[in-house]
């Protein structure tokens, strides 16, 4: 646990030192704030005391922002060779992966904490469904964790950050659209399986305030599989 935290600290430090963290925070708050309060189907347009719009916007903003955060995490170490020094320390591959994962997740959590004023404001304006909102936040954290684990896997594959970014987006799109489209195009059992694989369906039910163990299992399985994949790649690089 101590080893994981040491790695997490360094990764977080690196996000803030390189300004990545600040840019990400400002851009995220800017986008989500704009669409929640000022533009499009914002709160004053829908006239509903709910953060549905905010969750929808964040869902997409994070889809693009998280790969930009994770693309560096392994690719840079592969490129400069620091991965070799890191893995010859008394740490396991899993501790390294989990440490990096946790750092990015914490950064996202910080960004979400900064949106709590939205929640408070909306709660003052009308009758907000507290349960649904809290579930919405938890849903965003799960979605973020999923994106991060996919992003780390994509980053570990090569020593090129751009490859890491694009691959993470490609895998994300696969889960978002491809499974959804295929599900609509097919029927019966196959359709159901594909629908289950589609990321959007699970986020939707969570953000509506419905906690289903199926959704949680879905997110955790993707995270777990990405970790296993990343570990396999780290091992492969050493043979």
């Amino acid at each position: 646990m101590r080893q994981i935290w040491i790695i997490t600290k360094r990764e977080l430090q690196s996000f803030f030192d390189s300004l990545t963290a600040y840019i990400m925070l400002i851009a995220f708050l800017g986008f989500s704030g704009l669409f929640t309060w000022l533009y499009g189907s914002d709160i004053f347009f829908t006239k509903q005391a709910s953060l549905q719009t905010f969750f929808g916007v964040s869902y997409w903003t994070l889809f693009f922002f998280i790969p930009a955060l994770t693309m560096r995490q392994f690719a840079e170490e592969n490129k400069t060779g620091t991965i070799e020094l890191l893995l010859t320390r008394p740490v396991t591959d899993w501790q390294v992966i989990f440490g990096k994962f946790l750092a990015t997740l914490l950064l996202i959590a910080i960004a979400l904490v900064f949106t709590l004023p939205y929640y408070i404001t909306v709660a003052k304006l009308g009758n907000i469904d507290h349960g649904a909102t809290i579930m919405g936040y938890i849903g965003l954290l799960f979605i973020s964790a999923t994106y991060i684990s996919i992003g780390l896997f994509a980053s570990s594959i090569s020593n090129n950050q751009i490859v890491g970014f694009l691959l993470a987006l490609a895998i994300g799109i696969l889960f978002h659209f491809v499974f959804g489209f295929l599900s609509m195009a097919s029927s019966g059992f196959v359709s159901e399986v594909l629908y289950f694989l589609s990321l959007g369906a699970h986020f939707e039910s969570i953000s509506r305030g419905v906690v289903d163990s199926k959704d949680i299992i879905y997110f955790i399985s993707i995270i777990f599989l990405s970790f296993v994949g990343t570990e396999a790649i780290l091992q492969k690089n050493r043979t």
Partner: protein, 309 residues
């Protein structure tokens, strides 16, 4: 801690980078790896650090095997890779702290250790700079500092003096020698003088195999069992001396080095010395012998002989 390498083999595609090598390094020994580029030095070192997983064979560091207890080995090893990779965006002090924490140094001791490393490696003026701002020589010092910070029992240094200026090279060699008294050190280099100056034992690797192993004296003797003398005789005819030298019973070959100065290179037969005979010859003929020195086989020659093909 002793290092025992047993039948280590590493295959990359079709190429055998390391081909079934076995050796042992004892505590307090500084072993120098010599070899041309691509001989398998770095591969062997990476396998000892547990980073590379061998195709075949096992490595023991103390009582720990790289397969069974890699974590225990990692705690006790200090490693400086060939390219000296460092987190460029971190200040020197922060980086050393990060490494020290990962190596499990307690928070009470870590400040002292960092201070000590900064002094030992001569980083006092640079400690608050970012690593990306440092020159190559200072980066190399940071590389050494990170390898030494947890006071490891085993040190693996891949070309530790690369990029350093001559003064720094001498300093680092002294440091390695000092450290090497209580620890097990393996270092690689292709600078022969360096290996000769720092190492108790030299191992020459070529094409993934060990071609020589011993002290620098051993290696010289093994490569050239014959005595070679430089002889200079004044006030005599060159051709006469040449003929007479050739007639000596122990002499195998005579070469004229410098005709004007009457210098010769005399190679004796195997396990024989010609010094006495040459001296007696001069006395008999009334020649004045002004130089009689034995030419040492240079390590360079040994190296070339063993690795050139």
């Amino acid at each position: 801690m002793d290092i025992v390498v047993e039948n280590l083999t590493k295959v990359y595609g079709m190429q055998r980078a390391v081909d079934n090598i076995s050796f042992r390094v004892n505590t307090g020994e500084v072993l120098g790896f010599l070899g041309p580029n691509g001989a398998g030095k770095t591969t062997t070192m990476k396998a000892i650090t547990t980073y590379l997983i061998p195709t075949e064979g096992n490595i023991w560091v103390g009582e720990y095997s790289i397969y069974e207890q890699p974590e225990e080995i990692k705690k006790r090893i200090g490693y400086l890779p060939e390219s000296n990779p460092l987190y460029q965006d971190m200040p020197v002090i922060d980086y050393l702290k990060f490494v020290g924490e990962l190596q499990g140094i307690s928070s009470a001791k870590i400040k002292d250790r960092i201070r000590e490393m900064v002094i030992v490696c001569g980083l006092e003026g640079e400690k608050h700079k970012k690593i990306s701002e440092l020159s190559k020589g200072y980066r190399q010092r940071v590389g050494l500092a990170q390898a030494l910070i947890h006071d490891p029992d085993v040190l693996i240094l891949d070309e530790p003096t690369a990029g350093l200026d001559p003064n720094q090279i001498v300093e680092i060699r002294e440091l390695i020698k000092k450290i090497g008294k209580q620890k097990t050190v393996i270092l690689s280099s292709h600078i022969l003088a360096e290996v000769e100056a720092t190492c108790d034992r030299i191992m020459i690797i070529n094409k993934g195999k060990i071609v020589a192993d011993g002290t620098s004296d051993d290696l010289r003797k093994r490569a050239q069992g014959k005595e070679i003398l430089k002889v200079t005789i004044e006030e005599a005819d060159t051709d006469t001396i040449f003929e007479k030298l050739k007639e000596l019973p122990t002499v195998e070959l005579v070469d004229i080095l410098n005709k004007a100065k009457n210098s010769f290179e005399v190679q004796s037969k195997h396990d024989d010395s010609s010094r006495r005979h040459i001296f007696n010859l001069c006395v008999k003929n009334g020649w004045i012998l002004t130089e009689l020195t034995s030419l040492e086989t240079k390590l360079e020659d040994v190296f070339r002989e063993l690795t050139y093909n």
